[in-house]
């Protein structure tokens, strides 16, 4: 059971991380954040949030590991194939009407969503006119996204997902297998800019036709969600698309009015025109 002291210490820890390292976790959904910080306390052998605060303030080497507890990295290529099928069948025809495209994978983690979209755009003939932006707050995750190397044992699932998403090619066309790993073709990311970007402290950086941000907002409270969604609203062109995770919704957001449901079942929204 959390005591009042725990709550005070937790708040101070998050303030310390913000002031020392400029990462703002104060608006993360607390139920899950508390669980992950409890695991972090165990890992760092700290009996309290205050002890963890002392460690992270005085030892910058602690931060990367702590970030891996504070952010959740779970993804797969073409996760929720129905989402990518809806992008392919319903969104791509709109995107084909633009001479050039900018696509943002917000909270790209280790890159699975980016490579999924890059493959889909290549299959649909859109790749050459597209610039991708893949952003995350976790530098280690970004490095892994840029490397594009995944465990070979995950490939059967990725392959199945790709087929179910309506893939027009074989996933094996896009990677080479070596030493237990699948190394994805670097030409898939030649049109991608990888960048450190926070949905809660950074601002608009481009005018976009599509933003895909899946299972990132679930870790935010409603305030942080509204901040991120207003960023998405301000960076999408009128009629631009926003894709969320399978159980994420604009229903509870202040920004709901700026968007209309485009594909209800797969949580794809369209920015209303001005």
């Amino acid at each position: 059971m959390q005591t009042e002291t725990d709550e005070i210490e937790l708040k101070l820890l998050l303030d310390a991380i913000l002031q020392r390292y400029h990462y703002d976790f104060r608006g993360y959904a607390l139920a899950s954040l508390r669980r992950r910080l409890t695991q972090a306390k165990g890992h760092f052998n700290c009996s309290s949030y205050s002890a963890l605060q002392e460690r992270v303030l005085h030892d910058a080497d602690v931060l990367p590991k702590l970030l891996s507890y504070l952010t959740v990295q779970v993804s797969e290529l073409f996760r929720d194939p129905a989402y990518f099928r809806a992008i392919r069948e319903s969104v791509v025809p709109y995107l084909k009407t633009y001479p050039s495209l900018k696509v943002w994978v917000a909270g790209c983690s280790t890159g699975e969503e980016l490579y999924s979209l890059a493959i889909l755009f290549r299959e649909e003939g859109l790749e050459q006119r597209t610039m991708f932006y893949a952003t995350d707050i976790n530098p280690d995750a970004l490095k892994r996204a840029e490397a594009g190397v995944y465990q070979l044992e995950r490939i059967p699932l990725f392959t199945q997902n790709h087929q179910l998403s309506g893939g027009r090619s074989s996933l094996s066309d896009y990677y080479t297998a070596a030493y237990g790993a699948a190394v994805f073709d670097k030409t898939l990311r030649q049109r991608t800019v990888f960048s450190d970007h926070s949905l809660v402290t950074d601002s608009v950086f481009a005018e976009l036709q599509l933003t895909s941000c899946r299972n990132v907002l679930i870790y935010f409270d409603r305030g942080f969600q509204d901040r991120a969604l207003s960023l998405f609203k301000d960076s999408l062109v009128p009629n631009g698309f926003l894709g969320l995770g399978a159980k994420e919704s604009l229903r509870f957001s202040k920004c709901a009015d700026a968007f209309q449901e485009f594909s209800r079942e797969t949580r794809i929204y369209q920015r209303r025109g001005n």
Binding site: M1, Q2, A29, L30, A31, S32, R35, R36, V72, V74, N215, L217, I218, Y219, D221, R222, Q225, G245, A246, K247, E248, S249, R251, F252
Partner: protein
């Protein structure tokens, strides 16, 4: 200010549909509490639990979205491949954290976060299942002063989960499914 909702949390695994079918349809439309349910599900398939029970129940039944407000007289199922957590200001959050007891959603995660949020004003129920998930969470509810109910193991189609829960919680009452349904109605009315 609106008073916070009161809640029931239910966890089940193998044998869940049969057990829930004896409980949920028996509850009245003005039951008065919210019901939050984790059933262990295969991660890669759409769940039809909400649809099945929406037709059978007088309560509103839905699969939870992230940041869903918790409302009385509504039943919320955790979606496949997400943990469902209760925030202290009484809405639901979802998460893709690591599975617990090989399960996502995990009963322990729902129950422990619900105990934090609802304190003693919570009823926890463990039904049929073939895994230990839920015992720890039921213990958290008991420690917070909530009421804990368990399906009688000999009546459950899979008794591992009820037995594990009874072993952890001294104050747990082992009841038949009908007994659980009437206990819920009495507790909710009281």
């Amino acid at each position: 200010m609106e008073s916070p909702p009161r809640a029931v949390v239910i966890g089940a695994s193998a044998g869940a549909i049969e057990a829930l079918s004896a409980i949920l349809p028996a509850l009245p439309a003005d039951f008065g509490r919210a019901i939050l349910i984790v059933v262990h599900l295969p991660p890669d398939r759409k769940s039809i639990l909400a649809e099945i029970f929406a037709d059978k129940c007088r309560l509103q039944v839905r699969e939870a979205d992230d940041k869903e407000p918790i409302l009385a007289n509504s039943v919320y199922f955790a979606p496949p491949d997400y943990h469902m957590l209760v925030e202290t200001d009484h809405y639901l959050s979802l998460s893709n954290e690591e599975p617990v007891h090989y399960s996502r959603p995990s009963i322990d995660i729902l129950f422990t976060t619900a105990a934090e949020a609802f304190k003693s004003d919570l009823i926890g129920v463990i039904l049929s299942g073939a895994n230990q998930d839920g015992a720890e969470g039921l213990r958290a509810i008991e420690n917070a002063g909530g009421v804990v109910l368990v399906q009688q193991p000999e009546q459950a189609s899979s008794s591992v989960m009820p037995r594990a829960a009874l072993a952890r919680c001294r104050s747990a009452r082992a009841l038949t499914l009908d007994g659980i349904a009437s206990a819920l109605c009495e507790l909710a009315a009281g």
